[in-house]
């Protein structure tokens, strides 16, 4: 049923419809509204016998999830930013153990400097944690991807992160069709764990593994990720049959990527998450002016759909990757994966780091990227809307005096005196 609803609330109601047995929560913005709503739904008895646990840290949130999932319970939690970093050790443990936990990451910048606003440096830091990572482009897909995530996680016995841009999606009111529990039941069967702690059939889980089998265990984690590349399209198709829409949102292609005017596109903008909306507007604008622009979104970042990306981009002349995180000292993160997909194909590619710490990515700035890409003035790696004057002033201060003081505070002071 269509309703005006906040993104977080839509996610919470969708997760509730998936009937988790255990939900554990530790507050961190901008994820809080999701677990707040789940607490209420649990208390109202809307999620069966679901147990809602307020833990004392994200480290414990993921640890509770590990214990619960290993006992055969469908388990969910949500986090963001520093919270995701605080649970990194059990995050890796969960994937290594092959536990099908589903977690929402309400994408938010990582400090220092402390910043509560959106970028994707948090989930990007966990790209190699062994979790599947799905990125939502809007609130409908943010909600729907959770249903897909539970099914996928449980089929593969692998944890799944659903990443949605903090505030931009979590706190936005939109018209959403929150999945009906009856339909969810049709799509998502009862959880049958591959491994379970059961006194009737005792097993040891989490034993020490030495060089004789560690590589093989890790290989199987990789194998399962590759298997997900086959299963995601199948599940997406099934999802579409049950819910009459695609889980990946508009322009979805097999749940792996989204394709917008790619057929004849000469300039292609690539991105993950909510910025795709602005990017598609920019594409429309340029198309009106006769420029053959297109956009590709990556829904499944882990596993990375190398073949689909290659097929989608190989005819492009210029590629611009818009990234909400980067690898300091090197450059782009998503773009290096795209380079791998396009290996052997010579296409000019630029990486633009945008929207860090909540800086708005405007239609104007995106549109300019297309122009710059076309006229060859876009460098290989750049920061969108970088305040060059602010940066240079601090660099100059560093040269003039050894004890130049705290950097972030200097910049804010300079801004204040403008």
């Amino acid at each position: 049923m269509l309703q005006q609803i906040e993104g977080s609330k839509a996610v919470a109601e969708t997760v509730a419809a998936c009937m988790p047995d255990v939900v554990c929560a530790y507050p961190i913005s901008p994820q809080t509204h999701i677990v707040e709503a789940l607490d209420e739904l649990t208390r109202l008895g809307k999620i069966g016998n679901c147990q809602f646990i307020n833990v004392e840290s994200e480290f414990s949130a993921m640890s509770v999830a590990i214990g619960s999932s290993a006992t055969g319970a469908r388990t969910y939690t949500a986090t963001a930013s520093q919270g995701l970093l605080f649970m990194v050790e059990p995050v890796y443990n969960a994937s290594g153990l092959g536990l099908p936990i589903v977690m929402t990451v309400a994408n938010r910048a990582i400090g220092s400097p402390i910043n509560i606003w959106n970028d994707q440096s948090d989930s990007m830091s966990q790209r190699d944690s062994g979790w599947i990572q799905l990125y939502a482009q809007d609130n409908q897909s943010a909600a729907d991807l959770h249903i897909l995530a539970f099914r996928l996680a449980e089929e593969l016995s692998l944890p799944v992160m659903v990443c949605m841009d903090g505030f931009i999606l979590t706190h936005a009111m939109e018209e959403i069709d929150v999945a009906e529990p009856e339909l969810v039941q049709k799509f998502l069967p009862k959880f049958t764990p591959r491994q379970v702690l059961d006194p009737q059939d005792p097993v040891s889980i989490g034993a020490m593994v030495g060089p004789e089998a560690f590589t093989e265990v890790k290989y199987l984690g990789h194998f399962k990720q590759l298997k997900a590349l086959e299963i995601i399209p199948e599940l997406s198709q099934e999802f579409e049959k049950v819910f009459a829409r695609s889980a990946g949102g508009p322009d979805d292609y097999k749940g792996l990527v989204t394709k917008y005017h790619l057929e004849d596109a000469e300039v292609v903008l690539v991105a993950l998450g909510s910025v795709l909306g602005t990017i598609k507007d920019a594409v429309d604008e340029h198309r009106k002016n006769g420029v053959k622009a297109g956009a590709m979104g990556i829904t499944s970042f882990r596993p990375f759909p190398l073949d689909e990306v290659r097929k989608s981009l190989k005819h492009a002349q210029k590629i611009v990757v818009v990234e909400r995180a980067f690898a300091p000292g090197v450059g782009g993160i998503v773009s290096s994966n795209i380079r791998t997909a396009l290996s052997g194909i010579d296409i000019k590619m630029s990486t633009v780091v945008a929207g860090l710490g909540g800086r708005p990515i405007t239609l104007k700035s995106i549109s300019e990227l297309v122009d710059k890409a076309l006229y060859g003035s876009l460098p290989e790696f750049s920061f969108m809307d970088l305040d060059v004057e602010l940066v240079e002033r601090e660099l100059e201060r560093n040269l003039l005096t050894r004890r130049s003081g705290p950097m972030a505070e200097n910049l804010l002071k300079d801004l204040g005196s403008r």
Partner: protein, 331 residues
């Protein structure tokens, strides 16, 4: 039996005491014990932790009709029991990380609750490092929420698995590989340390107890009692470590007994934050007697010894004896 037996009547604390009636026999002396931590594991000779864990788990199994799920922190117990493809655990057992045995056990407990399996119980276990240091915050959370978990700490007073380094439970003056017995202040510092049983009591949880491998009958009884209670329970067991303490492997039980008889390790039980039982010292011994047979305290003895430190340690024992009322006839 008209007169209740006192164990010292036979001069021993032997758990399989033949003078006992059938209902008083220890779990470990029964042929139907579960051998939850079975033989063949890789613990050192004389390992107090292996002994303690075996008694704890068999008693927990006996108290629950064999329905226990065990969660283990990283540490000696985890490493020596599961060098796959071998496992010594004959019950469902899980190891996740060093610092998260308590919350993983919480997860197991809530999963069971969601599934309506109130018959299956959860026991988490870790060493002192995993308990008083790296797992402390999560353990406190488990206490505060009163999650239905028995957490057992096997305290050997240092990080033995990583090669004997100081933990928050290492006693003053003890030599470890991060508190060398050299310099002006040899060994571990005289700080407050972290008295986890008392901290657990401050959480007001239903049951807290200390126990020792020198009195295995008492250890079993405490596990049995703990399993009859719901909510967060904490059991702190002193387990001497021949490797880390520099002691003879056949003296593990003796050392555990001397720790108690000197007053350095009080044995007691508490319910909802109030002490309900304490084990009286049978024959008080000076701390010297306990310390001098341990190489980790060797620098306190001999011609270059340190009477000042020994006096300070004796003062700690005396404070314990006064605080817990450890002298006098058994109540």
């Amino acid at each position: 039996m008209s007169t209740p037996l006192k164990f010292y009547q036979v001069g021993s604390f032997a758990v399989g005491n033949r003078l006992l009636g059938d209902d008083q026999l220890s779990v470990q002396s029964r042929s139907d014990r579960t051998n939850s931590l079975t033989s063949g594991h890789r613990a050192c000779q004389g390992c107090g932790e292996a002994l303690g864990a075996r008694y704890v788990m068999d008693a927990a199994m006996a108290a629950t009709d064999g329905k226990v799920i065990a969660v283990n922190a990283t540490g000696c117990l985890e490493v020596f029991s599961t060098p796959y493809p071998e496992t010594s655990w004959r019950l469902p057992w899980m190891h996740s990380l060093f610092g998260n045995a308590a919350p993983v056990a919480t997860g197991v407990a809530f999963a069971l609750k969601a599934q309506g399996r109130s018959d299956i119980r959860v026991v988490a276990q870790g060493g002192d490092g995993g308990t008083v240091d790296i797992g402390f915050g999560p353990l406190s959370g488990m206490f505060e929420r009163n999650d239905d978990v028995l957490y057992v700490c096997y305290d050997n007073e240092a990080y033995m698995n990583t090669g004997v380094q100081r933990s928050g439970a290492t006693p003053p003056a003890a030599r470890t590989n991060t508190t060398h017995a050299v310099g002006a202040n040899p060994g571990a510092s005289f700080t407050q340390g972290k008295n986890l049983p008392k901290i657990a009591m401050a959480h007001g949880i239903p049951y807290v107890a200390t126990a020792s491998v020198s009195d295995l009958h008492d250890l079993e009884a405490k596990v049995t009692k703990a399993m009859s209670i719901r909510g967060a329970r904490y059991l702190h067991v002193l387990v001497p470590c021949p490797l880390g303490w520099g002691t003879r492997s056949e003296e593990t039980i003796k050392l555990a007994r001397l720790a108690t008889e000197s007053g350095l390790f009080p044995i007691y039980e508490a319910e909802y934050g109030t002490i309900t039982e304490r084990k009286k010292i049978r024959k008080q011994v000076p701390v010297d007697e306990y310390l001098q047979i341990q190489k980790r305290f060797a620098h306190l003895f001999g011609p270059k010894g340190n009477r000042e430190y020994l006096n300070a340690i004796q003062a700690i024992a005396d404070r314990n004896i006064a605080e817990f009322g450890l002298l006098g006839d058994a109540e």
